[in-house]
């Protein structure tokens, strides 16, 4: 059972991936989260001046499943088809650290006390990091909804924020899971099918190719970055082990093993470099992978509408040819066209703002990452210089 309370320095680590306009009329944060076995309860705290809410300030406990429900309902709402729906937060995954913790418990007898304490400390730190990240992605999801002029007015969203009872959403059962899977299949098949439909708007044509390209690239980059950070972590772990081994060697041996200290600290630095890199770069890329997926979904919906439009056009032509059901077909075609136009319009707006948002987020994160890298490197430099001096004076 772990609980974290966010304090002032949370501001620094938060909202790394998205740039949100700070609108004071609806401020949402997750100040606290509680982990009970495999369930994580987030405390969602809202501060608002909007009249649609009953109170200006309130907080409710929410689980991950409720976030997913919120996302799903938004996705299913027809009117939002032309909007980029913020990607749902990924499921909290504490398996990694937990498993390691378990292993550590098993291997307790085989290592020395110091080693054990050190490992445990590390694992706890790792666990906490994962935990924080989880809280953060959930928070970001809500913040993006709240900062969006349309989503913030969504009824379900408001219920989600306000209703202080359990929303009693259940997990998807197997059938629904399968259904969702099937839907995805249909969707991707559909995507292929409608890709043949001729694009009428050049902007969307361009955007589509760009997004497709970009999405694959960023997916790749994100995977690679993840790999890189992982190997960086491995290196940091190695430093850790080496410093441990050096310590024990030095304990047995009082000769010239002064380096112990330096390498020991070096490991911590390396560790921090790795985790910062992970936080800044990998998270950025990962988030945008999902975001771009959301944008792609928008495009898909638009393309779907376009295809529908065209189909209805054809149907109208056919009806006219045959001379029956013309009115119905006309109605249908009109609707489709309307829907498509609306979608295109809002989609255009959304995509443009998405682009701007992306650029800003990249900029911010890149700068932060660079600064951190420099900071860490400088720290290591001074540390190394110090230890070299110590060794030289020996």
């Amino acid at each position: 059972m772990t609980s974290i309370s966010e304090d002032s320095d949370k501001e620094k680590v938060r909202s790394v991936s998205v740039d949100l306009n700070n609108d004071a009329s609806l401020v949402i944060d997750i100040p606290d989260a509680l982990c009970e076995r495999d369930k994580v309860k987030f405390t969602v705290h809202t501060k608002t001046t909007l009249s649609s809410f009953q109170k200006p300030e309130f907080s409710v406990p929410r689980q991950h499943e409720e976030f997913i429900w919120l996302h799903d309902t938004i996705v299913e709402t027809e009117e939002y088809a032309g909007l980029i729906i913020p990607p749902a937060p990924p499921k909290p995954d504490f398996e990694g650290p937990r498993e390691k913790m378990h292993k550590l418990g098993e291997g307790e007898s085989s290592m020395t006390k110091e080693e054990y304490a050190k490992m445990k400390q590390e694992l706890e730190a790792e666990y906490l990091a994962v935990f924080k990240k989880t809280v953060q992605v959930h928070e970001v999801f809500l913040q993006r909804l709240s900062s969006h002029p349309i989503f913030r007015k969504d009824r379900n969203f408001q219920i989600f924020l306000e209703y202080d009872q359990d929303l009693s959403v259940r997990r998807k059962n197997a059938k629904e899971m399968f259904g969702g899977f099937f839907k995805n299949m249909v969707k991707s098949a559909d995507e292929v099918l409608i890709s043949g439909v001729k694009e009428v708007d050049e902007f969307f044509e361009q955007e589509k190719t760009f997004l497709l390209d970009y999405s694959s690239k960023i997916k790749d980059a994100s995977a690679k970055a993840e790999k890189m950070t992982r190997s960086h972590k491995n290196v940091a772990d190695d430093y850790n082990h080496i410093s441990g081994a050096l310590n024990s060697t030095a304990a047995d041996n009082n000769t010239a093993f002064k380096k112990t200290i330096s390498v020991c600290v070096l490991q911590k630095l390396e560790d921090r470099v790795a985790s910062d890199q992970e936080l800044k770069l990998t998270e950025l890329l990962r988030y945008y992978t999902r975001d771009i997926q959301a944008a792609k979904d928008l495009l898909y919906r638009r393309a779907r509408a376009l295809a529908d439009n065209e189909n209805s056009n054809k149907a109208l032509d056919k009806a006219r040819l045959k001379g029956k059901d013309i009115a119905q077909a006309e109605e249908n075609q009109k609707q489709c066209l309307q829907k498509f136009d609306k979608l295109s319009e809002s989609g255009k707006k959304e995509l443009t703002s998405f682009k701007a948002r992306r650029v800003v987020a990249f900029r911010k994160n890149l700068i932060e990452m660079t600064e951190l890298e420099i900071k860490h490197a400088k720290n290591s430099v001074s540390l190394l210089q110090g230890s070299i001096e110590i060794l030289n004076s020996n």
């Binding site: 430093y239 081994a245 660079t370």
Partner: protein
Amino acid sequence: MAASSERSPPPFPDSEEPELLEDSDEEADAFTGTSISEMDSPSPDSTRPPKDIFNEPPEDIFSDPLSNINSEPQKKVDAKIPSPSSDEAVDLFSDPLDDDSEVMSSPEVQNPMPDLLNEPVEAPKSDVLGEPPVHRNAARHQDVFEDPPKSSSKSSSVKKAASAEMFGDDDDEEDLFKEPPKVVTKKPQPSGPPVDVFTEVKSDVKVKPQVKDDPTDLFAEEALTAPAPKPSSGSSSSRTNGVHSEEQDLFSEATVELSLDSPCNDRKNKEAVKPSVSAPAAPVASSSSKAPSKSLEELEEEESEDKFDLNISITNPEKVGDGMNAYMAYKVSTQTSLTMFRSKTFTVRRRFSDFLGLFEKLSEKHSQNGYLIPPPPEKSILGMTKVKVGKEDPSSAEFVERRRAALERYLQRVVSHPSLLQDPDVREFLEKEELPRAVSTQALSGAGFLKMLNKATDAVSKMTIKMNEQDVWFDEKIQDVENEEQHLRKLHVMVESLVNHRKELSGNTAVFAKSVAMLGSSEDNTALSRALSQLAEVEDRIEQLHQEQASNDFFTFSELLADYIRLLGAVRGCFDQRMKAWQRWQDAENMLQKKREAEAKLLWANKPDKLQQAKDEITEWEAKVTQYEREFERISATVRKEVIRFDKEKARDFNRQVIKYLESLLHSQQQLIKYWDAFLPEAKAIV
């Protein structure tokens, strides 16, 4: 004095005494009590305070027999004489001061003294040094024995004076010094021997006081001139420690000698032969033991500043030949101002097996003396085959470079060893244009197989030899070396994994850089696209950096550890050599014991015809024991010196290498700063 040495090894005789008891029939009754008390008391605790040894064992050994013998005094037959004599001595031990024997003894002692001294006068030194205990003394304590001439010249006068002094003021020595005179005084009474025997006994005994004199002299001298001969506090403590253990050995040895020699009391001929046999060996022993002692001390002092003006570098690895017969030849360049070489700079080409051959030759010659021969890098069939096949892939290039560096370090270690540098083979290796091909180094050849067999038998014998370590320094050192090797092994594994992980990181960084570059190319915001491609470039450089660092990890850190793991193995080899020497000595000692018993039996059975042969054999084995013991002492001293040298070298090496390693880390971090600093404005330029 003696009390100040806290850790002193168990008494020496306990390993032999029981055996003696088991085998000897006649003396069994006299010693049964001893055997039991002996068996259980000394062996278990290795760090017994010297007091025990000084006070208890004599009592243990002798007081029991004493009562035994007193109860059956009639049994004092010829054959029995030995034990009474020693028993009586101990009788006095137990109540040394209350009877007037002391007063009695001194005149008596003085009487035989002339006799005694007349005899050995021809070779006073040989007398002093000729007796086995003295050999040991000299050999073991070379440095302490800086002034043996002094003590031996003093011997006659000092002996009286010193012994008197000793009686007066040194409590611990008291027993020691009381013992011999008493032996002298008492001996005549039970055996009522002819003059011959008397002097004989005396000479035998007399030698011992003298032996004891030396340590006391030493003590006095050490106390007086303490700062002068001691270069450092560390060595001084070890030295005094050595003195104590030494003295103890002496003492126990002396008591053993007593009991061992006593059977011989009535065999004058044999005793008469003995000095003459050991006499010729003595000068050799003294000189040989003294010379190393000097050099040992000097070496220890000089070690810190010994800078050999000898630079060896190995360059230009070059493949010679084709196919499976191909080999790598390395250019060995030497630069020196040492006069033992013909010129100041010279270069030879050597192949890997030549290096191995050098090692073989050196270890053949020197390892049994306890020298630490730096081990060459291992043969690697896989790596070499790759090279032979001739693929120009990076792994084989890395292999060659790794081997080149390892060989260079190996040679440098060899020549930095003062004794190995003097070896003609080393010189030949460095200078001679053509070397005969080393054949026995092939891993898969018949010789290799033999070597493996030897190693296996060595391992088996190592397991079977159970040496009870009487030198605390060695005991601790062996433990230390083993621990250290374990630690280094662990560390090495970790550093290896660091190297691998860093390589992986470098690879992943490269892939990421590519991927970012792609991302940048498809980014439609110009500034961001630019920034991303810049980032890709930065990551590319970082990848290079990681790669360099990985090779630094490997060459400066991992290889250092690998070297020292090998070297520690060699150190253990030295310890093994020492153990073997010890075993040899013990075997000889046992053999001698058996011979003596056989002789006693012959005496008992009254077979004079075979007696002479038995005596000859005893003499022969005594000489052997002496020789082996000396060898053991020598090897102990050498190993000790070598290990101290190794430790120093190791500390220096580690310090140097770690600084180098940290500097490489520093360098890469600085580069990192540079790269990221350059990138920062790009990131900021994104609009």
